[in-house]
């Protein structure tokens, strides 16, 4: 078919002579898919949580045990995000700027936490850091620090699970950076740290924040690893996701949905922020 006839063909299609089933069909399928898979379940959760109005939802969320579980979830996720931001950026930097044997293997391993069932992650951490295991016993004895069945275990599990997020957000930007600026700064006599802070870091801030927020959003919903490594004691080591499970199992769907809605709202808010950050970054590039 010649180019001209193709063009004609297209004009015919866009001219609305017949209903463009192909185009609308695809949109229809994609949108219904999204609707069935995402929107409807979300609506159901919101319907459940709001079945007794906003007051009912607020009451469920502010029950002392529910509130404590949300607070624990948020502060452990925040600590994880801080550590992850620093270490993730450093890991990305090392992977991009240095050469060492095994680098490509290491680069592939970074994504593995996405593929490991988080339950298995939990079991591994208990085997490694449990109070009866060598490392865990050592920490308990010398540092007086309980890791497993306490908040540090939660943070460790979250760090493991969200490991790729910051690295994978920062790495491509770091790769695309023009090193001439760093070289120029070095020629002008700047030493390594100021170069990193003033030249290398600024363009990394946006991707870093994207990665950090995504890891935070991912962390607040984590269940599989947490239920194994945290003691799940109300007020001490019970996170929001584990609390939700308890409420479902004891047939308090309102309570379960209410706390879920708060978690969804936080995650969704963060994803919108990520969206805005990304839009800004794209503008900056263009």
């Amino acid at each position: 078919m010649s180019l001209a006839s193709l063009d004609q063909e297209r004009r015919k299609r866009e001219g609305g002579e017949s209903i463009p089933w192909g185009r609308w069909g695809m949109r229809g399928i994609a949108l219904s898919y999204l609707f069935v898979l995402l929107i409807i379940p979300l609506v159901v959760i919101f319907q459940d949580g709001l079945s007794q109005g906003l007051g009912g939802l607020w009451h469920q969320v502010t029950l002392p045990i529910a509130w404590a579980s949300l607070k624990l979830t948020l502060w452990t996720s925040a600590v994880m995000t801080l550590i992850n931001s620093v270490m993730g950026t450093m890991t990305a930097y090392v992977l991009v700027r240095y050469n060492f044997p095994g680098k490509s293997v290491l680069n592939s391993i970074i994504d593995l936490p996405l593929a490991i069932p988080t339950l298995v992650t939990g079991v591994m951490l208990v085997i490694l850091f449990g109070p009866q295991e060598a490392l865990g016993a050592w920490a308990q004895r010398t540092l007086g620090l309980s890791i497993i069945f306490a908040p540090p275990g939660i943070i460790l599990a979250l760090l493991f699970i969200t490991f790729p997020f910051v690295v994978r957000a920062v790495q491509p930007v770091l790769l695309s950076l023009d090193r001439a600026q760093e070289d120029a700064a070095a020629t002008l006599g700047a030493s390594a740290w100021p170069i990193f802070r003033r030249v290398t870091l600024p363009p990394l801030v946006l991707p870093l924040m994207t990665g950090a927020l995504l890891s935070f959003a991912r962390a607040i919903g984590e269940f599989g690893a947490i239920v194994i490594v945290a003691g799940n004691i109300p007020f001490k080591s019970q996170t929001a996701a584990v609390y939700v499970l308890g409420e479902v199992e004891s047939e308090n769907r309102l309570g379960a949905s209410a706390v879920s809605i708060v978690m969804i709202a936080i995650a969704f808010g963060l994803i919108i922020v990520v969206d805005l950050l990304q839009a800004r970054r794209n503008q900056g590039v263009a």
Binding site: P41, G231, P234
Partner: protein, 367 residues
């Protein structure tokens, strides 16, 4: 474009995760997944019909080993009596979760659960319509008591409930929100205190019994989802004592686990009900076989096998012949002490229940 895709992927992950948290009962366990695809047996009358049938057993976790031995015996007996082949699909979940799964459409022909309240839930859903209390022993197929597993040689000297409140004792007990066993544990602990079997707690002094409950709860370090997870954690070396079913400890010891059984002076008699789930058995046309299986569980032969796996027999004859395996309890009380499950569930575990109020006091306590 790439980041957009990544973002969408993560959003999908998040939402599925959150949605998953909200309804774990609908996530099929491996055993359920296989059984849900099972072809329903032919719906014609079982008598004279030589087509093989399949029975689905929805059970709680702790009698798993006993059923592994019981089922082949029944399959053989049924074949001899009727000439029909019967096979089993087995699913083992925490009692409450299993009960909810059955209510939500897991088509088990037989429900074997930890506590009566979980059978009642299925009755309330109109899936069990028979009067299962008409079965022998009021429909209770096995008994146990709440006991302790302690480290070999009992280094912390845990002999009775009072020892659990001592400072520095690290206790495991499952979460009452998810585990039937955990509810039995709390009832045993609170009941023993209220009945005057804890030093320093006067008989029938509810406030003192509740204070004692709080002091024990403060020593709990891990609340697992179910009794089996809890004892597994204990086997891994966590904690000084696990409050659990006596049969869990006995089965664990049979399997080579190194811990000792301690039976407190006063404890609750755990009674495990079994019932045919009428709606599903009729739908599958398996009623005759399902009823035969339930009746088989009450025979002395089956009761001996339950006893072999650490469960006390409600059958007086079998109980007598297996008495040597089961230490006598000084003060054994029943759920009736709390007015039955219908009353105990709200009184102890409801929004204003004793346990709920006590756990709220953990706030601002230790840590």
């Amino acid at each position: 474009m790439r980041t957009k895709t990544v973002k969408l992927f993560i959003l999908v992950c998040l939402v599925t995760l959150l949605a998953g948290c909200a309804s774990p009962a609908q996530v099929p366990s491996p055993t359920q997944a296989t059984s849900s695809t099972a072809i329903p047996a032919a719906a014609s009358t079982p008598s004279g019909n030589k087509q093989p049938i399949k029975l689905t057993l929805g059970a709680y976790t702790t009698p798993r080993e006993a059923y592994k031995e019981l089922i082949p015996i029944f399959e053989q007996q049924w074949k001899q009596q009727t000439g029909q082949d019967v096979t089993f699909e087995e699913s083992y979940l925490g009692s409450g979760a299993q009960s909810r799964a059955i209510v939500e459409g897991f088509e088990a022909d037989i429900a074997a659960l930890s506590l009566e309240a979980d059978i009642s839930r299925i009755q309330d859903a109109k899936l069990i319509t028979n009067d299962w209390h008409q079965l022998p022993h009021n429909g209770m197929v096995s008994d146990s008591v709440v006991a302790f597993a302690v480290r070999p040689g009992n280094p912390k000297g845990i002999k009775d409930w009072a020892d659990l409140a001592k400072p520095g004792v690290n206790i495991l007990t499952p979460n009452v929100k998810t585990s039937g066993g955990a509810m039995w544990n709390i009832l045993a602990l609170y009941g023993a205190a209220k009945r005057g079997f804890v030093e320093g707690v006067p008989k029938d002094d509810e406030a003192a019994a509740q204070a004692f409950l709080l002091s024990v709860l403060k020593n709990v370090s891990v609340m697992d989802k179910g009794a089996r997870e809890s004892i597994t954690n204990f086997e891994k070396g966590v904690g000084d004592v696990a409050i659990t079913y006596e049969n869990e400890v006995l089965v664990g010891k049979q399997g080579g686990a190194k811990y000792d059984l301690v039976i407190p002076r006063s404890t609750i008699l755990i009674e495990n009900p079994v019932a045919v789930v009428d709606a599903y058995a009729d739908k599958h046309g398996t009623r005759a076989a399902a009823e035969a299986f339930v009746n088989f569980l009450f025979t002395p032969q089956a009761q001996q096998i339950f006893a072999k796996y650490g469960l006390r027999s409600p059958d007086p004859e079998v109980a007598k012949s297996t008495a040597s395996s089961f230490p006598k309890v000084e003060d054994l009380f029943m759920i009736d002490y709390f007015g039955g499950w219908k009353k105990a569930t709200p009184d102890i575990f409801g929004d204003n229940g004793v346990y709920t109020k006590t756990i709220a006091q953990l706030q601002g306590g230790s840590n």
